[in-house]
């Protein structure tokens, strides 16, 4: 009788572990496919027309500021490090260069995506940001161009990369 009951209890244990094992296997597959924050371009940082010798600044709150979205599609908050790769110059196809600068408050992170809740940060330093579950946050970027008096005319461009680690 005692052995029989013990046997029943063992079966109960096995059946209890099975769902757990399945649960763990499921979690294991989540490990293999790590949760991510999707980084996407919204718009370029556009300085527009620039006069030789006249510096121009685009504030990060300006409609011409660069913008990225950070999409957390998972069911839990994710904390990421935001790391910029910033250019020091913009260039023409012909190789002319124009200095560009980013200050300690040139970038901004908005957990909600709105300018009102934006927190400025230095884009030259990694910034820790938390994005709530199923939320799209936004990163803004301004900057300053320093054209020389003899700046060659033409179209200038540079790439700015944002990585969420």
């Amino acid at each position: 009788m005692r052995d029989s009951r013990h046997s029943i209890t063992s079966r109960t244990l096995r059946s209890a572990l099975l769902p757990l094992m399945i649960l763990v296997c499921g979690a294991g597959s989540t490990h293999a496919k790590a949760p991510t924050v999707q980084v996407a371009r919204v718009q370029d940082l556009t300085f527009g027309n620039v006069f030789p010798g006249v510096p121009i600044t685009v504030p990060l709150t300006d409609s011409r500021a660069g913008q990225y979205t950070l999409v957390n599609g998972t069911g839990r908050a994710l904390t990421v490090q935001l790391v910029f790769v910033l250019p020091s110059t913009l260039a023409t196809g012909g190789g002319a260069l124009m200095p560009v600068q980013f200050g300690p408050a040139s970038a901004g992170f908005s957990a909600t995506g709105s300018l009102g809740s934006m927190v400025p940060f230095d884009p030259s330093i990694p910034f820790t940001a938390t994005i709530a579950a199923k939320t799209t946050a936004r990163v803004f970027l301004g900057g300053t161009l320093q054209p020389t008096g003899g700046q060659a005319f033409g179209s200038y461009t540079a790439t700015i990369t944002l990585t969420a680690l």
Partner: protein
């Protein structure tokens, strides 16, 4: 039986907690990257050409001589090029004397000027008093196309009665810079 059951439950609970911990513990995030471009268009640089010298010609000792900016032959004239419609700041470095033979000087003063987006010193523009203090005006045309500005200068020389005979000259410098507007 009861003891066995309790022990068994305890083992199950412990195992489940350990497994659950492993399942929901911190997991590495995959790095994601996005790129944008920074773009700008640098407009035409400013060019300034001294199109005509301010010429007083022959001057008699003791007789003042004035060249008006409307004098098509003798007035000084600068031609400015740049981006159409752009606002520029214009200023001058003006001599107080013309330099002549053996260090002699001929005073020059009472500067007058006229600027215009067309090549006329008589209509369509505005008169001004040239000085080191800049004034703002706009080039002709619209952004993205060539723009022009014409500046005409006049002045008066006041030779002394015993003014040394000979040729006199000096440099008039006009500076033009974009204001960014």
């Amino acid at each position: 039986m009861s003891r066995t059951s309790l022990v068994a439950r305890g083992v199950v609970t412990t195992a489940a907690m350990a497994i659950a911990f492993a399942a929901v513990g911190p997991s590495p995030l995959a790095a994601q990257t996005g790129t944008i471009n920074a773009t700008a268009t640098v407009l035409q640089p400013i060019t300034i050409t001294g199109s005509n010298d301010l010429q007083f010609g022959n001057v008699f000792p003791g007789v003042n001589k004035t060249v008006d900016y409307t004098d098509a032959t003798n007035a000084g004239k600068f031609t400015v090029g740049g981006d159409g419609g752009a606002q520029v700041a214009v200023s001058f470095t003006l001599p107080t004397d013309l330099n002549g033979p053996a260090g002699s000087t001929l005073p020059i003063s009472t500067w007058t000027g006229y600027y215009n987006t067309t090549n006329s010193a008589t209509s369509g523009g505005a008169s001004f008093t040239p000085s080191a203090t800049s004034f703002n005006t706009n080039l002709s045309g619209t952004t993205g196309s060539p723009g022009s500005l014409y500046v005409f200068l006049g002045a008066t020389v006041t030779p002394a009665v015993n003014q040394t005979q000979g040729a006199y000259s000096n440099t008039v410098t006009m500076t033009v810079a974009y204001t960014g507007s």
